[in-house]
């Protein structure tokens, strides 16, 4: 028997939380040198609760500890933050523009970040070098692009931001930013840096370390808080501006807050990871199907959970499936995402509920 409708999201939440723990342990034990899950659990427990006395006792070696605590754990945590953040923003965007195929990148964030990253990779500025510069320029590019999309939509809609004008200006800005990236690649002389841009665009969380974690973690936590408290308002937005307005929602102000938060969250992620597609698109849909409702009070927290699980597993697959060579994460998520997307369209044609 199916559980009653109100308690169903809660049950799914508890199940997903359990899956999340399992996925974290599994993903840490998985990789170029496999570690038994029991050891992973032991090392984590030891470090967290006994301040790492296990090495001295000889239960495991220092390299094992290094792999678990300093290499794989930050990466897995970053995967959680990244998958959760992208899925959150996907759910919010779909509600705001009332379009089931919207994703976190419709605000031009991905292409803006690409252009910024390409700039740093192809013609690096002299002052602060390396990975850090790529992150900063990607973030600036993402924020510029999303601001551009918003204000173009506003100008195009005669002072009002409508879902359709927003999608259109997003497409336009995406095209311009892609053109900038292409131009930079065209002008670049060294094949190595061109390869670096391509690699960046395919998306990966390999750059994750303890030091790259705090900013994205802060932004995603902030987003989770703001979106989590806006469930009812997001529901109202799903019925259109007119209805939301007549129910007393300050539509313009609310939309601006949601967009700014989304672009901050996604920019903080994309600037570190590159473009990881399809997560933000499909996870909210899976959640709506599982929970049997589009109610954002349930969809928002569940999307964060499932998105985290999905990305951690996809990253484990990217690291482990093809021997020692690591696959870009964007390829894995797209391979899983595209068939699912087709399935969604088929469901829509049958008069299903999520299209």
């Amino acid at each position: 028997m199916r559980p009653p409708k109100e308690t169903r999201p809660l049950l799914i939440g508890i199940m997903l939380a359990a899956c999340l723990l399992a996925a974290v342990i599994m993903a840490i034990s998985f990789g170029s040198s496999d570690l038994p899950a029991a050891d992973v659990y032991g090392i984590l427990k030891d470090k967290l609760f006994h301040n790492g006395t296990g090495i001295a006792a000889g239960t495991w070696t220092r390299p094992q500890f290094q792999i678990v605590w300093n290499i794989r754990l930050p990466r897995v945590l970053f995967g959680l933050v990244c998958g959760g953040g992208l899925s959150l923003c996907g759910a919010v965007m779909q509600s705001l523009v009332m379009n089931p195929i919207a994703d976190p990148y419709i605000l031009g964030i991905s292409s803006g970040a690409s252009a910024g990253a390409a700039w740093a990779l192809l013609m690096p500025l002299p002052f602060f070098a390396g990975q850090y510069q790529v992150t900063v320029t990607a973030m600036i590019g993402a924020l510029i692009a999303s601001a551009l999309v918003y204000f173009m939509a506003k100008a195009g809609g005669g002072g009002q931001v409508r879902p359709v004008t927003l999608l259109l200006s997003g497409t336009a800005v995406n095209a311009v930013m892609s053109a900038i990236t292409s131009l930079l690649i065209y002008l670049a002389k060294s094949p190595e840096s061109i390869a670096a841009v391509y690699n960046w665009q395919m998306g990966s969380i390999a750059a994750a370390q303890w030091t790259t974690l705090p900013l994205p973690l802060f932004c995603v936590a902030l987003g989770f808080l703001i979106f989590g408290l806006s469930g009812r308002k997001l529901n109202m937005m799903m019925l259109g501006d007119e209805d939301a307005l007549s129910m007393g929602l300050h539509v313009r102000r609310f939309r601006l807050i949601m967009f700014s938060t989304c672009s901050l969250v996604v920019a903080s992620l994309v600037s570190v990871t590159g473009i990881i597609g399809f997560v933000g698109l499909i996870v909210p849909h899976i959640v709506r199907i599982l929970a049997g409702t589009s109610n954002n009070k349930a969809v928002i927290p569940l999307s964060a959970l499932l998105g985290g699980i999905f990305l951690v597993c996809a990253d484990a697959a990217a690291r482990g499936l093809f021997g020692r060579a690591e696959m870009p994460l964007g390829i894995i998520t797209a391979f899983v995402g595209a068939p699912f997307f087709l399935y969604l369209m088929a469901r829509k044609r049958d008069g299903g509920s999520s299209g």
Binding site: K5, S95, M98, N99, P100, G158, R232, K233, N235, M236, M238, L239, G240, D241, E242, D243, L245, S246, M247, G248, L249, H250, R288, G292, T293, S294, N295, S353, S354, G355
Partner: protein, 249 residues
Amino acid sequence: MNVEFKDIYVTLGYQEILHGISLTGRPGQMTGIVGANGCGKSTLIKSLFGIVPVKKGSILLDGTECRTMTKKELSAAVGYVSQEVPCIFDFSVREIVEMGLYARRHGRKDGKKLVQQAIEKLKIGHLSERSILTLSGGERKLAFLARTIAQGVDTIILDEPTNHLDIRHQLDIMNFLKKSGKTVIAVLHDLSLAAHYCDTIYLMRSGACLAHGTPEDTFTRHNIKTAFDVSGAASRNSEGVVEFKLNLD
């Protein structure tokens, strides 16, 4: 609540849609807005919620200019049932009705009670857990009307509430509104329904008011000819009921 539109001008793009139109709705009365397609009926009622910007004129709710009210204050006073709500995502009827509580102060328990009362008032208890996507147009309309009841307003404004509905649902909605005791302002296309149910009718033509008053006074042969280019009129029959008759030729 007394609703007064005073000399409203609305411009969209470079086109002036409304040229100084006035309208009054009174408590316990049903006011109909009637006119040919594109004459500005929907624009007029949308101007109250700020969905379309008013260029000149004022809209008063019991004497208070509605543009000085916050969105929440306004929505606590006036409810709106739009012509067509895009139902893209999956919500149950109960979830839709619950959204009406947004502007209302209430405890957790009271909220549930208010929603249940609204659902029962419109006799849609059997639909309450159904997804809005699986409902017919008429059932959806009832759900959205229930939402305005949960909103706790004493004025309801509706844009073509009987559109696409079968005759049973049309009468259900009109009877409900008539008996609600609220200030009701509705854009209507069916002249027979308008003549039968409305206390006052505003007949519009290209952004202005052609005539207003009781159905009998408004739906004269001359006015109907001017507004719609068809032949017909309202009259009181032998039982004293106002009826609209269309002459088909």
